[in-house]
């Protein structure tokens, strides 16, 4: 346990950085056994990453009874999946320099997680529900798949450009066919996962509302929710269009679609970071917006209650939940 305590984010982030450095060095010079060194560092990094996540998840579970605990854990889990995918791809296609594109995204997610490290954990009341687990997991995997799609899309664009310009390039990439196939799969996969995440988010909200005598609507003005909706609709439209119109699934079009999806995702992550979605630490603006909605509802209910001669005190008590900074 003491050893696990000593593992820090720096341990595995540094390992991934070394692997990235080794990948980049392939552009400039040749070293024997480089593949094994690269694989060794990646495996060591992933091992440390797994141990770190395992230990901290256990801590979080023991103290709060929730997995992943916070946005910090959520980001690191996403980065873990990306690192595992990298390791698998480096075995499957050892000559392609996928790491040059995939590892920066992994490191970006780790960095993002670090930025979240000082935020509050997920709201314990929400986090323990099954719907919330599905919501969080689906969005986590959706994020990972969108990130993978972006990596495949960027590699496709570079490879396609090289072939058009008849340049062999200084680093090997997978074939266009392979990149196109996986970019397309990631598009469909992320649509399904975001659909699951979105649907479970609505279900979660409905379950929460059923626990309160004053039902509140889904706060569409919450930037996290509307950007998620836009991202989901974008993915859904692209997937449906691609199903019925074959050329949309071929060539650079898919690459552009997955790249735009990733930009949406980045925007969403920034917003999540800003507003502290799913935690008790919400931005004043979001909290105020949520409160206004609930306040209006409460007032309406109060009037109805007055009309039907019901005790007005109940409505006043509910409105007390809606002070800025309160949990929605």
């Amino acid at each position: 346990m003491e050893l696990l305590q000593k593992i820090s984010v720096t341990c595995f982030a540094a390992s991934y950085l070394v692997v990235l450095g080794i990948e980049l060095s392939r552009v400039f010079f040749q070293i024997g056994q480089r593949r094994y060194i690269r694989f060794g560092f990646a495996a060591a990094g992933l091992f440390a990453h797994t141990a770190f996540l395992g230990y901290h998840t256990q801590l979080s579970f023991d103290s709060q009874g929730i997995w992943l605990g916070s946005w910090f854990g959520w980001c690191l889990s996403g980065a873990w999946v990306l690192a595992a995918v990298y390791l698998w791809l480096s075995i499957r296609t050892p000559h392609s320099m996928i790491g040059m594109f995939l590892l920066p995204v992994t490191l970006l997610l780790i960095w993002f997680g670090q930025r979240f490290s000082d935020t509050l954990p997920f709201s314990p009341g929400r986090a323990k529900t099954v719907w919330n687990m599905i919501h969080g997991s689906a969005l986590l995997l959706g994020t990972v798949v969108v990130a993978l799609g972006f990596v495949f899309g960027i590699m496709y664009l570079i490879q396609s450009r090289r072939l058009k310009q008849k340049r062999s390039g200084s680093f090997p990439l997978p074939s266009l066919e392979w990149l196109n196939l996986w970019a397309e799969r990631s598009l469909v996969g992320s649509t399904v996962l975001f659909c699951g995440g979105f649907a479970s988010g609505i279900a979660l909200k409905m379950v929460q509302q059923s626990n309160h005598s004053t039902p509140a609507p889904i706060p569409w003005s919450d930037p996290v929710i509307w950007t998620s909706a836009v991202l989901f609709l974008w993915l859904l439209t692209a997937s449906i269009f691609g199903t019925f119109y074959k050329p949309a699934r071929r060539g650079r079009k898919v690459a552009y679609v997955v790249t735009i999806s990733f930009l949406f995702l980045l925007l969403e992550l920034v917003i999540v970071w800003q507003v502290g979605h799913a935690t008790d630490q919400q931005s004043p603006r979001t909290a105020a917006a949520n409160c206004q909605i609930v306040q209006r509802r409460s007032n309406l209910q109060l009037r109805v209650q007055k009309r039907f001669s019901i005790n007005a005190l109940a409505g006043c008590q509910r409105s007390a939940h809606c002070e800025p900074g309160g949990r929605s």
């Binding site: 040749q30 490879q159 072939l163 062999s168 997978p174 074939s175 266009l176 066919e177 071929r250």
Partner: protein, 422 residues
């Protein structure tokens, strides 16, 4: 260890000489069996490829190994030739030069196309044939295993093997793989039925290309090609439909004008619906209008484009040459240092054993003659004898270890001076 090699290769000998000295697998086995009958104390390996025939013989001492003249004679005899007919066309190397030569051959640095991968498997096969004859070959085993290790090191640490240098090879093994993951589910259209088409098809089939369609203005030639590579044949009139269906097109006609213009291809491009297409226009003059390559999912490569890539690869191989040579030199030195360590180790052990036997005998005799010695006195005398032997042996052993190149002669001298035997 003594190692000799004689042989011929594309560097020194004409095709006619190489043909005379070429061996089939069965002939190699017969050759090796006869060699062991004639030189029972020697080991032998015969490497025979289309570009070289090399005959390696090794023995633990110079007496056991045939001289290079004897080897030439034996080789000529086995091929039913006179020594004079081939002697001037053969090279001969001995010991360190022979080892370095084998390492160069295995690493494909001595090949006609430097870096071609086939030679390593041919070296392995030659060694395996020598093993299969049933004779023990411990010395050549060590040499050939090291040669294979050197070849792998050169392959891993340089780019000498990774680049292709012929147009069809670059087109199929490099370019096609950058676009398609596999060829077995692709429609491959061959336009024209000349030599270039045939050569390219060889690489396509080697890469699992199965759905092959051949079209040519002269139907009979297309028939032959399609039959040879188990492809289908289609009439020239159906060319447009074939252009729509194809994933890979190889065009090698002798037409003096482009057979597909941009205008003609416009309809094809619309019907293809953005499906990726690689066109290898290997004809001179070109068969496809160069503007066809402007379509987004069409990758058009001409002979010039591919030749540029081949030339770049050739230069890349040349640039890797010094690095590969350095590895071979380093490994040759290491091999001999290792060999020396083994040889000197056994000589030193023999010398120490002999000295200790003399010491023990003299000590025993002395102790018998000296009565009433205390155990401390006996121990003192024993240690004194031990120190004496060590001090006497120290300078010669130091000389052997000091300079490993010089010490080969010293080892022989020591064996003779102290009558150490083998």
């Amino acid at each position: 260890m003594n190692l000799q090699v004689i042989g011929c290769s594309h560097h020194h000998s004409s095709v006619s000489v190489r043909e005379k000295l070429a061996f089939t697998e069965d002939q190699v086995k017969t050759f090796l069996t006869k060699f062991h009958q004639s030189f029972p104390k020697s080991e032998a390996v015969l490497l025979s490829t289309c570009n070289r025939t090399e005959f390696y013989a090794a023995g633990s001492n110079a007496q056991g190994v045939p001289s290079s003249e004897q080897m030439v004679e034996f080789l000529a005899d086995q091929r039913g030739l006179k020594t004079g007919e081939i002697a001037n066309n053969l090279f001969a190397h001995q010991d360190q030069a022979a080892i370095a030569h084998l390492f160069n051959v295995a690493a494909s640095l001595d090949s006609m196309v430097v870096g071609e991968a086939q030679i390593l498997s041919q070296v392995k096969q030659a060694y395996q044939l020598a093993v299969d004859t049933g004779h023990k070959i411990p010395l050549t085993h060590h040499v050939f295993q090291t040669a294979m290790k050197v070849a792998k090191r050169v392959a891993n640490e340089t780019d000498i093997h990774t680049t292709r240098v012929s147009v069809p090879s670059v087109a199929i093994n490099v370019l096609t793989k950058q676009i398609f993951e596999r060829l077995d589910d692709k429609r491959i259209l061959i336009i024209g039925a000349g030599k270039m088409a045939e050569e390219t098809l060889t690489y396509i089939v080697a890469n699992n290309g199965k759905d092959i369609v051949v079209t040519n203005r002269t139907r009979s030639r297309a028939d032959d090609l399609a039959q040879k590579f188990k492809g289908q044949i289609t009439d020239w009139e159906h060319l447009e439909q074939q252009l729509i269906d194809a994933d890979l097109i190889v065009s090698t006609t002798g037409a003096t004008q482009p057979i597909v213009t941009r205008q003609q291809f416009k309809n094809v491009a619309e019907k293809r619906r953005e499906k990726a297409l690689l066109i290898l226009d290997l004809a001179i003059p070109r068969d496809f209008d160069s503007k066809i390559g402007d379509y987004e999912s069409i990758y058009l490569y001409t002979l010039d484009d591919l030749q540029k890539e081949c030339e770049k690869n050739r230069q890349s191989r040349q640039s890797q040459w010094p690095k590969a040579q350095k590895i071979v030199q380093q490994e040759t030195t290491n091999f001999f240092q290792d060999l020396h360590r083994r040889n000197s180790g056994s000589t030193i052990a023999l010398l120490k054993k002999q000295a200790n036997e003399v010491k023990d005998a003299e000590l025993e005799r002395l102790l018998k003659r000296l009565d009433r010695l205390t155990p401390e006195q006996e121990s003192e005398i024993e240690q004194s004898f031990h120190r004496l032997v060590n001090k006497l042996l120290h300078p010669p052993l130091k000389s052997i270890n000091a300079d490993q190149n010089e010490s080969v002669g010293l080892l022989d001298a020591m064996k003779r001076l102290f009558q150490l035997g083998d």
